[in-house]
């Protein structure tokens, strides 16, 4: 794992710190990267941050940006509504894999097809964290969760959803689609920044899935947590940009 930058992002809302995620949770790392991206782009004033119901809800007052909590799975349409009403605002939706790929999948799919000019960040921790660790669309084959107590069986529940790959298929050229991981912090921050830049430039739908950790529900210690992320998850879910209209000059 790369070192985390020690300074606190300017766009963080300090009275809500320390944050409430479990120790070792990837949500905190993702939100740090997002905070730094907001700082670098200098967009704190015009950013609207929207979070889903899932552990992402704990981020409702995370940033010193105007923010709104939505419903489980409904962050995408709320962000679309805001953007359509006030295109000058920069809308960043933040959700879990359950919220985005399961209950909110119709919204994700249709807003991608319409190439809505919003940025969505989806945290993939292979389970429903907030509700105590049930199976998610991203749960790996054989993985034990509260609702797959004998291990996920692809025969009866299908294979894990590869979200960015399917969104890339649905979107026209201007869209930005990528997958990052909390184990590669600099890349994570860069891809999130690109996804926001793509909205600022008005190119189209911008989506980043972030591979993340949930030691609480995985019931893993620090070592096992990172092993699962780096070996199991990153193998099934390849990391990198899948689609980018931004110039190759961006490094």
């Amino acid at each position: 794992m790369e070192m985390l930058a020690p300074a606190t992002p300017k766009s963080w809302y300090l009275p809500s710190k320390p944050h409430k995620f479990c120790p070792g949770c990837g949500h905190g790392i993702t939100l740090k990267a997002l905070g730094e991206a907001i700082d670098e782009l200098g967009i704190q004033q015009e950013t609207i941050f929207g979070c889903d119901i899932g552990c992402s809800l704990l981020a409702w007052n995370f940033f010193a940006c105007d923010s709104t909590q939505t419903h489980h799975g409904r962050t995408t349409p709320v962000m679309v509504g805001i953007k359509r009403a006030r295109p000058e605002l920069i809308t960043i939706g933040y959700m879990g894999d359950g919220g985005g790929y399961s209950i909110g999948s119709q919204h994700l799919l249709n807003s991608a097809v319409r190439n809505e000019k919003v940025t969505l960040i989806l945290v993939n921790n292979t389970n429903y964290g907030m509700t105590g660790g049930q199976m998610a669309p991203t749960t790996l084959p054989g993985q034990i969760t509260e609702t797959s107590p004998y291990g996920r069986d692809p025969e009866s529940t299908g294979y894990p959803t590869r979200g960015p790959e399917f969104i890339a298929e649905l979107t026209p050229e201007g869209a930005y689609v990528a997958r990052a991981t909390v184990s590669k912090y600099k890349q994570l921050r860069r891809l999130i920044r690109n996804a926001i830049r793509n909205q600022i430039e008005g190119n189209g739908f911008s989506f980043v899935e972030v591979l993340s950790t949930c030691p609480t529900n995985w019931r893993t210690n620090a070592n096992q947590t990172w092993n699962f992320l780096e070996e199991k998850m990153e193998q099934y879910f390849p990391v990198g940009e899948i689609k980018s209209p931004l110039g190759k000059g961006d490094k």
Partner: protein, 362 residues
């Protein structure tokens, strides 16, 4: 039917675990569900038990899907059920509407949590209106509001039977406290208690050859003419009203000479029961009335109790802001008894709260 429990046995468990065992004992074939607190453990226990007893489970992509898959399985002749809460209950109103319209014996367990919106994940009695009248229709539903784990067990079994006997969507309305708390109960196989289990049967995919021994089944829920729908609704309403007296259930205690009758349902009735005993010991003539079925509502029984006691006051106590009160008032329209209330939306009510309120009234 397959014996699950064997000799009746005592158990000490959570309400959600009780639901899973009761569904098993009632012969449920399959559960469809989507995670939501405080219902999650129904699914957790069911997913552990189901494969051992050859029963099915599917975690769907959301509650709309869970509700509609349940409708589909019921149409195909299986005892299917779902469990949800709060915003999940909101989403399920669309499939529940289909179940109402098409007379599908869907059984749903609702563990109420605080609302509106995501509210709390803890407890409330704020899903009374939604569960009784939540669809775009007339509320042709049967709703049992339980107060103990024993009742959860009993009414889940009964709920399947009532649903399949009368073919109205049926609900067991619990709450976060009942879902999560542990208390003792007795589990049994229904047939050992003389309970006859009503067998499910398919509405589609039925025996016989189309065009030879049977007509094709064409199930519908939309009509071209106002009059057509009107006719159907009047018929169903009449049927619902006709069976209501067989279905209504209630509890009344200490009402005969009561000056004030406390009306509550579900878990709050436990506090009301305690409160009435304490008040009686202090010389205050308090009575206790509890609708067990919220739909159909025991309105005649409540009217009788009011008349017999000559009580001057009703006190409606609920962990909601007037949902039981509205239900009660519409059902006993015309009674002149004075109605007071103790509304504590989204929080628990204990005997102390009720006693204090009663003393402020009398």
């Amino acid at each position: 039917m397959e014996k699950i429990i064997g000799e009746p046995k005592k158990a000490f468990m959570t309400g959600n675990e009780t639901v899973a065992w009761a569904c098993l004992a009632a012969g449920a074939d399959i559960m469809f569900g989507y995670p939501i607190t405080p219902q999650n453990e129904v699914m957790h226990y069911w997913t552990r038990l189901a494969p051992k007893y050859n029963r099915g489970f599917l975690q769907t992509e959301d509650e709309l899907s869970a509700g509609f898959t349940t409708c589909g399985a019921v149409q195909a002749g299986k005892k299917a059920f779902t469990a949800t809460a709060g915003p999940g209950n909101v989403l399920m109103q669309e499939p529940f509407g289909m179940a109402e319209a098409m007379r599908l014996p869907v059984l749903s367990i609702i563990q109420q949590r605080g609302g509106p919106s995501s509210g709390t994940v803890v407890y409330s009695q704020q899903e009374v209106t939604l569960t009784t009248y939540g669809g775009n229709g007339e509320g042709h539903r049967i709703v049992y509001s339980t107060a103990t784990h024993q009742e959860i067990y009993d009414y889940v079994i009964k709920g399947f039977n009532i649903a399949w006997k009368y073919r109205f969507p049926t609900f067991v309305l619990g709450d976060g406290y009942q879902a999560k708390m542990r208390e003792p109960l007795e589990m049994y196989d229904p047939e050992d208690k003389g309970i006859e289990i009503i067998k499910p049967y398919p509405l589609i995919g039925i025996p016989g050859n189309i065009g030879e021994s049977r007509e094709p089944q064409h199930l519908c829920n939309i009509y071209s003419l106002e009059e057509e729908l009107y006719e159907v609704l009047m018929k169903v309403s009449a049927e619902y009203e006709a069976i209501s007296p067989e279905i209504v259930e209630f509890e009344a205690r200490y009402c005969e000479d009561a000056d004030i009758i406390i009306i509550s349902h579900g878990v709050v009735s436990r506090a009301a029961d305690d409160a009435v005993k304490i008040l009686r010991a202090q010389g205050i003539k308090a009575g206790y009335f509890r609708p067990i079925t919220l739909r159909p509502f025991p309105q005649q029984q409540l009217r009788d109790v009011i008349a017999q006691s000559g009580a001057e006051h009703l006190l409606i106590a609920e962990s909601a802001y007037g949902q039981l009160e509205r239900l009660t008032k519409q059902e006993i329209y015309g009674e002149t008894v004075k109605i007071d209330n103790l509304f504590m939306p989204g929080v628990g009510i204990i005997d102390y709260d009720i006693i204090k309120k009663v003393k402020s009234i009398i």
